[in-house]
Structures are given as C-alpha cells and as structure tokens.
C-alpha cells in the first residue's frame, strides 16, 4: 500500500470506482492511518460509496458525503468542506469521483486545492464494460476524462470482472488489457483488483503484478451467496 498522500479514483461510469475507493480507504485505515473518504459522485443516483456507511465507520474511515435527505438525492452536491479538507495537510483523502468525463469536472473545480504532486490519480478500467471493451475505446475514454491540468494520471487499476461469473483467468486477461492501455497512456504503475478469493488464487499461482484484493461492500440483498443455489423455474412460458 504505497501511495501518495491523496488518492483520486476515477473512470468510466460503472467501472467499479466506488467499491475500489471504499476498499482502499478501509485498507489504509487498517494500517492505523486516519483516512477520509470523499464521495464526489455527483452523477450517479445510487449504489454509491455512501451506501457503505456502516462498514466505513466500523473501520474508522471518515466519510464525507451529502447527508440526510440529500444522501439519496440526484442533486450534484459538492460539499463546501471538501475544499478545506484538501487544504488540511494532516489529512489523507481517498476521493471517489463518479460518472465519466462530466463527473470529472468536479476535480477541475478543486484544482487550486488538490496538491497534484502529492496525489495519486488512478484510472479504473473494466474491459467487460461496453465503452471500454477495446484498447482503443479505453484509451479514448481515459483521454476524455483527463479534463483538468490538475489530473496527472499516476496509475491504472485493472478491475475487469463480470460480477459472480468472474474467475482468475478473466482477471489475468483484464490485467494484460490494462497493461496495454497503460502503455499507450505512458503509465507504468498498474494495480490488479479482484475479489479477495481470486487474488489469493492468483498469489498462489505466482502472479507477478501487484494485487488489490477487494471485499464487496455495496451489494443487493438478492445477489447470490456461495453455497445457496437458485433453482431453475419449472414452468416458463
């Protein structure tokens, strides 16, 4: 977990930024650091990082996100304290920036307070998502998102998955995909994200790229748990 002071996580809508931001914040907090997770998702209406409030507070991560009725609104709220949080030199921030290039404009609005050379900017990439499923599309999408001079891309997080259908091979293929994209963008640093179990499997195999094991914090009550199976319908017209 060798990062600059702040970590900004961004990427195409649905690439898995929120889940990764939550995991990074919690993993850093477990090493004893004071971490503030700033939910800058001004675009997506729900399934955002503010949905993991309980897990975050348990891990002593401070969550900064709209509260009360505004927590479940679709208003593009940029909380005024975000500016001062970035200016606080004692603080480590993980920022979850939602929603593609339009979502990235919020970073430009904060350009005077984000210390560019003390901040890691990670592009999250899932090659199973429709707008980043070829190298060309992924590179174009990354370039579209670099809307502000303050954003100096430092790394790519490979997050290729198909939810419950993901296996170690898919994660490996995704990592190779991310490597090519990173090369085209002139970036060397790559982290390979995957569910904890898959990361452990890759580690046993001697997979050489740095891994970011994920625990899933934002999920729905009906999503299948291992060991429980949903029977097939016996009548289907």
């Amino acid at each position: 977990l060798d990062f600059r002071r702040h970590i900004v996580v961004f990427g195409e809508a649905g690439s898995g930024k929120s889940e990764i931001a939550i995991n990074l914040a919690i993993q850093l907090a477990r090493t004893g650091e004071h971490v503030t997770l700033v939910d800058l998702d001004l675009v997506k209406p729900f399934l955002r990082s503010r949905g993991a409030l309980e897990a975050l507070s348990k891990a002593h991560v401070t969550l900064v996100a709209p509260e009360g009725e505004h927590a479940s609104s679709d208003l593009p709220i940029l909380l005024p304290q975000v500016r001062s949080l970035f200016q606080d030199t004692q603080r480590r921030i993980v920022a979850d920036v939602g929603g593609s290039e339009s979502g990235m404009r919020v970073i430009h609005a904060l350009k005077d307070v984000i210390p560019s050379d003390e901040t890691d900017f990670f592009l999250v990439l899932n090659s199973k998502r429709p707008f980043t499923d070829t190298i060309e599309k992924a590179v174009a999408c990354a370039k579209r998102m670099l809307v502000s001079p303050v954003v100096k891309l430092t790394g790519v997080i490979s997050n290729t998955h198909l939810k419950g259908e993901t296996d170690a091979n898919m994660v490996k293929e995704g990592a190779l995909f991310a490597m090519e994209v990173a090369e085209r963008l002139g970036i060397k640093r790559i982290l390979v994200a995957g569910k904890r179990k898959i990361c452990e499997e890759l580690q046993r195999e001697g997979f050489e790229m740095p891994l970011l094991p994920l625990d899933i914090y934002i999920s729905l009550s009906f999503e299948a748990k291992k060991g429980r199976k949903v029977g097939p319908p016996f009548v289907l017209r």
């Binding site: 809508a13 649905g14 499923d133 259908e165 009906f222 949903v230 319908p233 009548v235």
Partner: protein
C-alpha cells in the same frame, strides 16, 4: 458477447439491436443512462436521437415517427410517464407500435428517486384517458430486460399497440452480466410491408392516415371493439409468467414481479431451510395478467402473499385471480425502501401460524 451492463444500458443496446433507430426522450433519474446511451450509440448506427423539450413533446415525437412504421422508443421514469399519458392514449388510439420504458421511482408527485412499483395501476389499467390497454412486460434481471425489450418491439409491431417495459429503479441502475444474443428470431410474425404506415406515395402505396379522431359514434364504437379484440388476443396468446419452488402442496404461494421476485426467491430458500414450503409465481406480463396460472398455483397452497414496492396494487389482480378460494395477504414497502428476504421470512411464518390457529 458477454458484457457487464447497467440495466439502462442493456435496455438501450437491446433496442438498437432490435432495429430501433429513433429515440426521443427527456432526462429524469433513475433512467438517464438510457437516453445517454442512445445519444452516444444511435449516431454510430445511422440512427437519430432527439432530446425533446419535455416528456409531452417526446410522446408526440414518437407518435409522428412511429407513423412511418420505423421502430421507435422513448423512456422515462414515473413523473415523466405521467406527462406522456396524453400521447400514450393517442398512440393506442391511432394503433401505433412504440416501445415505452418506465423505470419506476417512488411517488406520488415528484416523490423520490429510489426504486418503487407504484405505477402498476397506471401501466396496466389505462393511465391515460379512454378505453385502451398497453401490453406491459416486467423484467427481473438485466438479461431479461435486454431480452424483453427486443420482444417488446415485435409485440408492438404485431399488435400495432404501444408496449411498456416496466422496471423498478434497480432494473435501471444495477449492473449484471448480459449476453447480446446473436441470430435472434422475432417472437411474433412480422408484417414487413406495413401498409398502414405513412411512408409517402412511392409509386403506388395506398394513402395512409394516422389518426385517433372518429367523430361518427358508429365508427368509433367499431374502432373500440377492434382495439378490444386485440387486447383479448393478447390475453389468449401472450400471457407470460414463471414459477419457482416446489410444484407440490405448499404452505404459501408468493406472487411478486420485477426485482421483488428475486428477493422472494432468496426468502424461499431461507424458508425451505426452516421447514416452510413455498412457491413463487412471477408475472412477466402484467397486462395481460396471468390470472389462470395464479389461480391454479394458489389451489396447492394454504395462503397467498403478494409482495410489492407499493401499498398494494398488483394484489388486486391476485385477489381477482384467487377469487376468495384462499386468503390473500399483502406485504409492501414504499418510498424507495426495498423489501429484504429477512422481512419476508417472518411475515410468512407469522401468517402460517395464524392460518394454523384458524
């Protein structure tokens, strides 16, 4: 090809792959990703995306475009669908095939932006003025949303009637793997000529007039009966539903549609572990409603529980189906609150106890 799709994106991609090249709409949460996706993809395939100045305008634009016989879609969420109701009634009256997607949010009024199933009445019992019906399809997964949108275009063309795809906000917002199936065959025989469509003379096409105005009462009554015959054919031939769980004698029959049915499946697994036998019937077409299937299924249970994200709408159709032969109970949440499997389980157990005690 298998992709990780957000429901809204899958719906839009399905429409494009079904041959839809025209989309008119107006943004509203939680379905903005449908018009966004369309605005991005339609120009790539030679289509046309127009953001209308309002939902009322969008519903009239789809009227005009559908009049040419092209495949047309609009999408919105609850308050926006209310605004479209005038246009939808005209579309039904003029027998125009369009696909309308409603990703429901909590109401009434502006309500909130979280999931709801509060538009069941509006979708299945009319909604707009006059004597008409929409064929209503309710997916429970992203894959099914993709498949049903493609069927929706065939059904709309076949019946020359608007078809609504009705999903709660989770169907719009959640992500799941989705297969873009190749080589799909239409689910209905299609009339390629579309002689009713206003496509210009082109060296001999008959004059086509698209209209819902019939001032002569004799003609209007005939027209109403023609529409009614279509709805009867839908009831006869296009009822869709799925059953889950045991086919034998059970304690409870759960009736739920959309994502609530997914919650019910999970609840049934817990119930089974705790010795309660449950089955589930999931209407896929809400109009036509699977009255017979619900009745038949209810005959093998002691009681029926209908679960919805509303204060009780589909439960009225469940009661019509069961006809007092079994007690019918209701469990609902509102305001954007979801039902959890852990809520359904004690509800079923409590009801079972009550029934046992008479």
């Amino acid at each position: 090809v298998r992709k990780l799709m957000k429901g809204a994106e899958a719906i839009a991609e399905a429409a494009i792959r079904a041959g839809c090249r025209l989309f008119f709409g107006y943004p509203i949460t939680p379905q903005n990703e449908i018009p966004e996706y369309m605005s991005r993809r339609l120009p790539e395939v030679g289509g046309c995306f127009v953001q209308a100045e309002s939902e009322v305008a969008a519903s009239n634009m789809i009227y005009g475009a559908a009049g040419t016989g092209e495949r047309v879609m609009t999408s919105s969420s609850s308050p926006g669908i209310s605004l479209m109701m005038e246009g939808i009634s005209y579309l039904a009256g003029a027998e125009l095939p369009v696909v309308i997607v409603n990703i429901m949010r909590a109401g009434p009024g502006l309500g909130g932006i979280l999931p709801s199933q509060g538009d069941y009445f509006q979708a299945t019992k009319g909604g707009g003025h006059g004597d008409y019906r929409l064929l209503v399809l309710a997916p429970w997964s992203i894959q099914e949303a993709y498949d049903l949108v493609q069927d929706a275009f065939d059904l709309a063309d076949y019946y020359r009637n608007p078809v609504m795809v009705l999903g709660d906000a989770l169907i719009g917002q959640m992500m799941e793997p989705c297969e873009f199936r190749e080589g799909r065959k239409p689910c209905k025989p299609l009339d390629e000529k579309k002689e009713w469509a206003a496509r210009g003379y082109k060296g001999g096409r008959k004059r086509a007039i698209i209209n819902s105005l019939f001032l002569d009462p004799v003609e209007l009554e005939k027209h109403n009966q023609k529409l009614f015959a279509k709805y009867e054919e839908m009831k006869k031939n296009d009822v869709r539903y799925a059953c889950y769980g045991s086919d034998g004698e059970c304690d409870v029959l759960i009736v739920a549609y959309g994502t609530v049915a997914r919650v019910a499946v999970r609840a049934m697994e817990i119930l089974e572990e705790e010795g309660v036998r449950a089955r589930l019937i999931r209407p896929i077409t809400l109009f036509p409603f699977p009255y017979d299937a619900v009745y038949d299924a209810s005959m093998k249970v002691k009681f029926v529980l209908c679960a919805e994200l509303s204060t009780g709408q589909m439960v009225e159709d469940v009661r019509l189906a069961v006809k007092d032969h079994r007690p019918v109970f209701f469990y609902g949440r509102q305001g954007g609150m979801l039902i959890s499997p852990e809520e359904i389980v004690p509800e079923v157990k409590e009801l079972r106890q009550k029934i046992k005690e008479g």
